[in-house]
Amino acid sequence: MDKQIILKNVDFIYQPDLPSEKQALTNVSLEIENGEFMAIVGKTGSGKSTLVQMINGLLKPTLGEVTVGDIKINNQTNNHNLSELRQKVGMIFQFPEKQLFEDTVLKDVAFGPLNFGDDEPTANTKAIKALSIVGVSKKLYDRSPFELSGGQMRRVAIAGTIACEPQILILDEPTVGLDPNGKNEILKIIHQLNEKGVTIIMVTHDMDVVAQNANRVVVMNKGRVSSDSTPRELFANPELIANNSLALPDSVQIYYDLVHDGIQLSQIPLTANEVVEQITQKRSGVK
């Protein structure tokens, strides 16, 4: 498989050589393949957000090197050379609706492609495609984005990033503050993009989201990668979970409650369905 993103021995220091200097990343090496759905978890201040900003060149490594496709970023890289990277890597921050600014929904979403050099008809076509992916209806195209509900605003903001047709999409806590329905809709959109081949890198605190979506989860601790595994492998390590202020999903909690009662299921269940399947399997074995 293609190694799409490679971080090699990356250090990052905020405000080097000042009294306020702070080392945010220490010797981080990661390889991410095309089409992965990777979750990044860890405490506040563990380096999650710094890490993802390395990948789209918002921050440049103090030491080491980041490679995205055939673009290399190190401390010598000039910002002028990063436009191609920014188009390749879409970034959605927390509360992306705060970044809406145009006077209509369509103009707001078309802004990105226009900025990357598309002519107006092409930018509008891309904007309309992105809005249909996130499920914003045509009726809303000419409305002000600020008149929309919270969930709709967030979808418009996400459409603004998808309209630039990124190959890699980075999301920092994309569902915080949404009700369950809004949250599920956003996750469905992210899932569909991933199925179309977009690489997803998502910073999250929500371990249910990790359990049900990611194929890989990286735990950051004090600027270092402290674990890199599948979600199931991570949940098999309750000590690591506790040390990083993470919570076990309910299904995994039930698994451990059963272990405590002397009942060992064949593997850690990630959904309610898997719990029932495993219990049924175990009981038919018992009989």
């Binding site: 009700d179 329905n181 809004g182 919570a247 039930i254």
Partner: protein
């Protein structure tokens, strides 16, 4: 005994011409020491109720009484607000002090409380939320969960009878959320503080005495959490999600297991599974 909060026939709409009613003829009451969750999707009017009870908005029709005194004249509102502490969603939006202790003291300073009394009240409040060790830190250096605990201390230092939490944990990670709810449960049980918790997270409502569910500007459910969690259709219509243990109970039923027809939490359902073997 009179209820501590009595809301009668309350209606409200924001003054856009084409705006529909946010609240339509709402009535409910809370007893002293009760822990009530107010649940509904984004835009269902939950926060409007909090602002009306705290007097930040004025009711257009209907009445709100706190301890049997109506919220009507501005004189009353000032008195009324003293009995209510409010904690909002965003921990970064509610700090004024340079240190944790001075931030918590702010409300007392505003009321010209003598310094010695102030110091002991701040200490009690910070200890109750488990933040006394952080008293000399800058609020900006704290994590989101720590900030929210300080915000709760800033509210309870004024000895309110009612604590209103408006989505106070929706921006926090799961562990911080759990810690905040432990603090709130303790305030409710040990101090007999009346809690009104506004949320769209069904999981955090499980520990409350009562759920008020708001949908399309009306209260559509008022009763115990365990009864609410069994109203699957109602919950789906409100765009909420069932608690995990209830989803699991339903899956067991669908698969043909003979499981109790009442709601069980994670622990109870684990115990039930254990008995299968």
């Amino acid at each position: 005994m009179d209820p501590i909060i009595r809301v009668s026939n309350l209606s409200f709409q924001y003054d856009d011409e084409d705006a529909s009613k946010i609240l339509d003829d709402i009535s409910f009451q809370c007893e002293k020491g009760e822990y009530v969750s107010l649940i509904g999707k984004n835009g269902s009017g939950k926060s409007t109720i909090a602002k009306l009870i705290d007097g930040l908005l004025a009711p257009q029709t209907g009445t709100i009484k706190i301890n049997d005194i109506g919220l009507s004249s501005h004189e009353n509102d000032r008195e009324m607000r003293k009995s209510i502490g409010l904690v909002f969603q965003n921990p970064d939006d509610q700090f004024v002090g340079a240190t944790v202790a001075s931030d918590v003291a702010f409300g007392l300073e505003n009321r010209a409380v003598p310094r010695e009394i102030m110091k002991s009240k701040v200490k009690v409040a910070l200890k109750r939320v488990g933040m006394w060790d952080f008293r000399n830190e800058m609020p900006s250096s704290l994590s989101g969960g720590q900030k929210q605990r300080v915000a709760i201390a800033g509210a309870i230092v004024l000895d309110p009878q009612i604590l209103i939490l408006d989505e106070a944990t929706s921006m926090l990670d799961p562990l911080a959320t759990k810690q905040i709810h432990e603090v709130v449960n303790k305030l409710n049980q040990k101090q007999n503080m009346t809690i009104l918790s506004i949320t769209h997270d069904i999981n955090v409502t499980a520990k409350s005495d009562r759920i008020l569910a708001l949908n399309d500007s009306k209260i559509i459910f008022d009763g115990k959490p365990s009864v609410f969690f069994q109203k699957h259709e109602l919950i789906a219509n409100m765009d909420l999600e069932l608690p995990f243990s209830e989803k699991l109970r339903q899956k067991f039923i669908d698969t043909g297991y003979d499981i109790s027809d009442r709601y069980m939490d994670d622990e109870e359902i684990s115990q039930w599974i254990s008995k299968l073997f």
